[in-house]
């Protein structure tokens, strides 16, 4: 086993704190003092990489990034020569914090009943001490766009830090936008329950009813907004559903349109065009690449629901999903890469960079692949003023690695967040690893004679 001296020291320190009787908060409360990380190749994402660069932090923010920063003689410096520094990842669509064990329904708050719930606010259900969060952090994911999954209008999403004391403390931005899940166009070919799959006629009927209800809700909301603007006296009776739609109708917040299958995407794009919603983000899979030109022309960004995916259809070429990111980028579509956003995937969000890596292996330029899980995601979510790249004024949230962050064999040696190194005392996986690697060796009881 090859082990870097630095990480051995790190492990020891963590072990001591983990076995100690006091559980330390993950972010140490240190007095505000400027820190300079010196000597690493810095990958700001917002610009070209800086070999032998310096990252200057003050408090929770980045002060400067550059090749020739002056380091005061008495400053606290961290020698990271030979290492690489990247911004932490921004997961562009997850139920992290809303889910714990996907098979145990009582631990999942991802999906509400009812079709039209625009007033749901997901951040209030975010479990800041979810045991999934430390695992995501260790994998470099420090921000997540937390997205509700139920119904047709699922509610509003939020961007949260995956480190902190509670959801209010961890909140970066809410609401980020409303989520419309366009009903399926094609009948399923099989069902997993006791009932037979819906017929095409049933699916068409259901879609017609649901989209009509949706259209009616949008019309009501528009009327509601007009009444508000006109200063109607008495004012319209408060209606949380109709209020929740106002920011989208007024173009203040985007409408995230979820549609995965080709015909569903086509209909969904027509549908929101007819609604005259000015800001739309498409959340979709590889089929979105078939609409690359239309999306580019309309200025609709795409959040891809994963790259590590099979072709949807038997006749499609094997790398259909792998090449979709580059096909979108080449057409000029702004692109973030996420995963499918399920409860299962929330637990595996540390694999986010490997979705981007597969896209890079299939044509997406390396820097665009990195941007798709950092800066582009932040821009699409309206939080790029604070995160997504290593630039002056942004949150000091970054990874120190021993190589290319898009390589699985690379180790994330340290995670810094808001100016401090994140420890792993709440990372149950890490603690179990430390505990069991120290199990004494010897013939165990129960072995056959």
């Amino acid at each position: 086993m090859r082990r870097k001296p630095a990480s051995t020291i790190l492990s020891t320190v963590i072990l001591v704190s983990a076995l100690g009787s006091v559980i330390q908060p993950s972010v140490a409360d240190e007095p505000a003092r400027d820190v300079f990380l010196v000597g690493a190749t810095i990958h700001p994402v917002s610009g070209p990489e800086i070999p032998g660069g310096t990252l200057h932090l003050s408090g929770s923010s980045i002060v400067a990034v550059g090749a020739d920063l002056k380091v005061p003689a008495d400053a606290r410096t961290v020698d990271v020569a030979g290492k690489h520094i990247y911004p932490t990842f921004v997961h562009a669509g997850s139920v992290l914090g809303l889910t714990e064990v996907s098979a145990v329904a009582s631990t999942v708050d991802a999906s509400e009943n009812g079709d039209l719930n625009p007033e749901l606010r997901v951040e209030v259900a975010f479990h800041g001490d979810s045991r999934l969060l430390p695992v995501a952090r260790a994998g470099g994911v420090l921000y997540a766009h937390v997205v509700p999954r139920g119904g047709i209008l699922s509610g509003s999403s939020a961007v949260l830090r995956l480190e902190g004391w509670n959801w209010q403390d961890m909140l970066v931005r809410a609401p980020v936008g409303l989520h419309l899940r366009y009903p399926p166009v094609l009948a399923p070919r099989r069902s997993f329950g006791p009932r037979p799959p819906k017929t095409q006629t049933e699916v068409d009927e259901e879609r017609k009813n649901k989209t009509e209800a949706l259209k009616a809700l949008f019309e009501d909301a528009r009327a509601y907004g007009r009444a508000q603007d006109a200063g109607a006296d008495p004012p319209p009776t408060r209606d949380p559903k109709l209020e929740a739609l106002q920011p989208v109708l007024r173009g203040v917040l985007p409408l995230f349109v979820h549609a995965a299958e080709h015909q569903q995407i086509a209909e969904a794009l027509d549908f929101v065009e007819a609604l005259e919603v000015s800001r739309v983000v498409l959340v979709s899979g590889a089929d979105a690449a078939e609409f690359a030109d239309r999306l580019a022309e309309a200025g609709i960004p795409v959040i891809l629901t994963g790259v590590l995916a099979l072709p949807r259809r038997s006749w499609q070429v094997y790398d259909t999903a792998f090449t979709a990111p580059e096909r979108l980028r080449a057409a000029g579509v702004k692109l973030a890469i996420a995963d499918g956003g399920s409860s299962f995937e929330a637990a595996h969000s540390r694999n986010l960079p490997f979705h981007a890596a597969m896209a890079a292996a299939h044509g997406l330029p390396h820097r665009d692949a990195l941007a798709a899980i950092t800066l582009n995601a932040a821009e699409i979510l309206g939080v790029a003023d604070r995160l997504g790249s290593l630039e002056a004024g942004k949150e000091a949230s970054f990874l120190i690695t021993d190589g290319d962050v898009l390589e699985i064999t690379t180790h994330i040696e340290a995670v810094w967040h808001l100016g401090s190194e994140v420890d792993r005392s709440s990372d149950r996986q890490w603690l179990l690893y430390q505990r069991y690697r120290q199990r004494p060796t010897g013939t165990p009881p129960g072995a056959p004679p």
Binding site: M1, R2, R3, E100, V101, S102, A103, V104, R131, L132, V135, L186, P194, L308, A309, L310, P311, R312, R313, S314, W315, V317, Y318, D319, S343, F344, A347, H348, R350, N351, F354, A357, M358, A360, A361, L406, E407, I408, T409, T410, H411, R428, Q429, L432, Y433, Y436, R437, R439, T441, G442, T443, P444, G446, A447, P448
Partner: protein
Amino acid sequence: MNHGKSGIAPGKVRGPVVAALLLSAACGLAPPRAAAVDLEAWRSPMPEQIPILLVQDATIWTSGPDGTLPAADLLIRNGKIAAVGVDLAIPAGAVIIDGRGKHLTPGIVDAHSHLGIAGGVNETGATITAEVRIEDVLNCEDPTIYRQLAGGVTAAQLLHGSANAIGGQSAVIKLRWGAPPDDLLFEGAPAAIKFALGENPKRTNRPDKERSHFPTTRAGIAQQIRERFVAAEAYRARWRRFRAGEGGQEPRRDLQLEALVEVLEGERRINAHSYRADEILMLLSLGDELGFSVAVLQHVLEGYKIAEEIAAHGTGASTFSDWWAYKFEVLDAIPYNAALMHERGVVVSLNSDSDELGRRLNLEAAKAVRYGGVEPEEALKMVTLNPAIHLGIEDRVGSLTVGKDGDFVLWSASPLSTQALCEETWIDGRRYFSRKEDLAARAAWAAERQALIAKIRALDEVLPNNGEATGGGAE
């Protein structure tokens, strides 16, 4: 095997392929054109076996005693590995592949797959189903076979699901795309059977209480397995008495107990779906008590807690690289599982259990390097040699060792790199996947598809109910 001999598809130009073969064989330089690729099995003819194939100057990960050899050669004669080494002499008539800048590994072996099963992965009609067999329901036209070839997979164990404490008999196949079901089967692979412990056979995740049954606890599962082995032991004794002429009627054949007797005789390998340390210890000690051994623990996500007990039983561990938290029983799963078990002497493989994940098992191996610092060569063995050991086929595949089958993969970069592309996949000295040919064929596939759609549309115009009459078909 003679699959595909008569299956030349319309539009397939066979002449140039043969000509290119002869040409390359003659001059010993040109890369081989072993087969035309296709996305459908029925018109994928069996690729030609190259009599003498020499890959030169590749970085060869042997997964064997030779370790990793830079700028080395691999010689395959009549589908078997004839030599591995540096600067091998070029035999007369050899077809040569230039391996410069490329990496060459053994074919990937997936010890836990559900590809190519024509429905019915779980036989849920009974709780003990040792008599049902995957080999009866192989679907050789599953496009997953081709897609996994494109990820370097050459052999896989096709398992039943985990609904039953004692499930059905699994099948080991080679991914010979285009071959009929019987020719997919890995000739001579030891027989195996699926067991399952914990939440799935308890079926406590099922909300439908009316379909509840025994067992619904781990204790129930243990008792059920014990009861069946006690019955199998008695069944074996009846047959022994009868065969020894010690009297009694000829026992009535019981296919279920027969399979379990094979387990007791060491002729059928148990692959036990398991997660928690307690249930694993239960099964190992049940084996000690009743006289069976467990060949492979599948998933075995808490194996790291009892690695020595597993190693002491000579039991293999075929695990996920990093899955966890999808069920309560996998809350303690950690990505360091493979590394910890490996360090304590367990033979560890990394499997897919997924048509999608199965296409990138090389990258699952990379996770053993990431989590726990397994050496790269040992990590690669977790998807090559070690799963072959788990399936009992290590004398045939799993490493690039003289005498083994000519199953190998050519990669554009280190197989542990996310940037590596699988360029060619060979089985038995036959090239079953070529990325170059796949890319070259795409325009023709798309054109053919459009032509077929046009024909269907034309029929639609003359036959108003055409869509219904033909039943739809592929999307």
